[in-house]
């Protein structure tokens, strides 16, 4: 058996030279696939922020805006603070709409994204 060395030299002798590059990377686990199931097989999707958090943020931002504007109603900071209130209110309202539109069933949500997984397969006959 000849093994081509990394440098490109052709080793003519039947000696098997096991080079680091040629070492088997796949461990023996292939014989017992159930024993070495990786815990990361199902990738958990990033959890979207919940509605309650946004509502809290809105409330806090309104407080801050009122405080900032109490000092100086026409400063840039005051305007920026109210802009933040507006942005967060919009985000809160979108979150509410999304929640109302559905997507409260986590299995349905998962299956709409991954219809080929075992849990989500549907059969016609």
């Amino acid at each position: 058996m000849t093994t081509v060395a990394a440098t490109g030299l052709n080793v003519a002798t039947p000696r098997a030279v096991v080079l680091p590059a040629a070492r088997l990377h796949a461990p023996v686990r292939l014989n017992y696939p159930w024993k070495f199931v990786s815990m990361n097989r199902m990738v958990m999707s990033v959890k979207a922020t919940s509605e309650g958090e946004i509502s809290d943020k809105v409330e806090k931002s309104i407080q801050e805006a009122k405080e900032t504007c109490a000092d100086d109603p026409v400063s840039g900071e005051c305007v920026a603070a109210w802009d933040e209130v507006e942005e967060l209110s919009a985000a809160a309202s979108h979150a509410r709409d999304k929640k109302k539109a559905g997507g409260s069933d986590p299995l349905e949500e998962y299956c709409s994204d991954n219809p080929e997984t075992d849990e989500c397969r549907t059969y016609d006959n």
Partner: protein, 400 residues
């Protein structure tokens, strides 16, 4: 859609190399040359593929982006539901369907929320936005190159890791400043501005925010007042560049109405825009006032008023179709549709069908829904005309 024609009289069985040289023109049709290595004669086979032409639509609307009604109506006209990219950041603002991709321009904020607070600028201020990046990425997508677009997270107020956006057939850029930068403006094939009057905006924001704890009438009012100077300075001037403006005003049918439920909506369409023929009532260029309610149609209070006239808007020739009132029943809708001309529908009743499909969307019973749907159909028409014009496949077989 890529159209390619291959001219070849001989099988390409000998060694050949191909070079693709994108043409220097902006239509970016790639030409592929096949050379057959033969000493005496050389057959050049030229394959020209018209690369995918991305149509870019700009939509300017206040108060952030997201799953707004107009976008849903627009994507529905083209078919398919628009959803956020699967498996990506759940707070992504992007919507993707088969034909369209909607990009929220908030993603091009150069300052995140803390940055803006430190500098004391609002999101409306051009200083908070990176127009260079916006221009480069929109240009790239228009030419058919995928981009890594940043994500602005509206909840945390931070700029998240970028997401990959593939060039779609129709790209919609939605946000506060689609027409602000001149270079981006030139890339747009069609632009729309949603002009909500102050009274209506106030009424809508009350409806939206009163359910939110922490908000009161004063805080909503203060928020609108604080943003007004920046809005008037930076966002409002974009109206003059838009090809279509949907203006929403309080109704004139109900005296002293402050509920904002019945609306007067005007669709202002610029004349002379390529591939865009304005909608009209009765005859183009005439002035007509029309109340459809009467013997053929019984409407409930306050009824429906239509108006059509040519006008001048910021030194541009425009045609204005106006609707005041609301629809109560299906037959009112179909009756009105049958009298409007140049709707670019593919079959009789398409506007009604689209409105009914989304009867739960806000504005489905008044001019906002009607004109948004009509603009959606106009955009489809514009897209088809653009594609038909650019999908030329000049194929030549040159024998040297």
């Amino acid at each position: 859609m890529a159209v390619s024609t291959i001219y070849s009289t001989q099988a390409l069985n000998s060694t050949h190399f191909l070079t693709s040289s994108p043409s220097s023109t902006s239509s970016s049709s790639k030409q592929v040359f096949f050379y057959r290595r033969q000493t005496n004669r050389r057959f050049n086979t030229i394959i020209t593929c018209a690369a995918q032409q991305t149509v870019v639509i700009g939509l300017a609307a206040d108060s952030g982006c997201g799953k707004s009604t107009f976008m849903r109506r627009l994507t529905s006209v083209f078919g398919g539901a628009a959803e956020p990219p699967k498996g990506g950041n759940p707070d992504s603002n992007t919507l993707i369907s088969d034909m369209t991709t909607v990009i929220c321009l908030d993603d091009y904020h150069s300052l995140d929320r803390t940055g803006r607070k430190e500098k004391g600028v609002t999101a409306l201020d051009p200083r908070a936005n990176d127009f260079d990046l916006m221009y480069e990425q929109v240009k790239a997508l228009k030419s058919g190159i995928a981009v890594e677009k940043p994500i602005y997270n509206h909840v945390t107020g931070l700029l998240d890791a970028p997401e990959l956006i593939q060039p779609p057939k129709i790209l919609v850029i939605e946000g506060l400043h689609p027409m602000f930068d001149e270079r981006v403006r030139d890339l747009l094939d069609f632009s729309i501005y949603l002009d909500i009057s102050n009274e209506v905006k106030f009424a809508w924001k009350i409806q939206r925010d009163m359910a939110e704890r922490g908000h009161s009438l004063e805080s909503i009012k203060a928020s609108i007042e604080a943003r007004k100077p920046d809005f008037d300075a930076f966002i409002d001037p974009q109206k003059q560049y838009a090809d279509a403006v949907i203006e929403v005003l309080p109704t004139q049918l109900i005296p002293d109405d402050n509920e904002g439920k019945v609306l007067r909506v005007r669709l202002i369409m610029k004349e002379g825009v390529k591939y865009f023929s304005p909608v009209y009532l009765f005859d183009e260029g005439s002035t007509i006032s029309w109340i459809p309610c009467g013997r053929k149609l019984t409407c409930s209070y306050p009824g429906i008023n239509f108006n059509y006239q040519p006008d001048s808007y910021f030194d541009n020739e425009v045609s204005v179709v106006e609707m005041d009132g609301q629809f109560d029943r299906l037959d009112e809708l179909i009756y009105v549709e049958s009298h409007l001309s140049n709707l670019s529908t593919k079959f009789y009743g398409e506007v009604t069908q689209q409105m009914l499909k989304h009867a739960d969307f806000p504005g489905s019973n008044n001019g906002t829904g009607l004109f948004q749907t009509i603009v959606g159909l106009k955009i489809r028409d514009l897209y088809e005309q653009l594609i038909a014009n650019k999908a030329t496949a000049p194929s030549e077989a040159a024998k040297a």
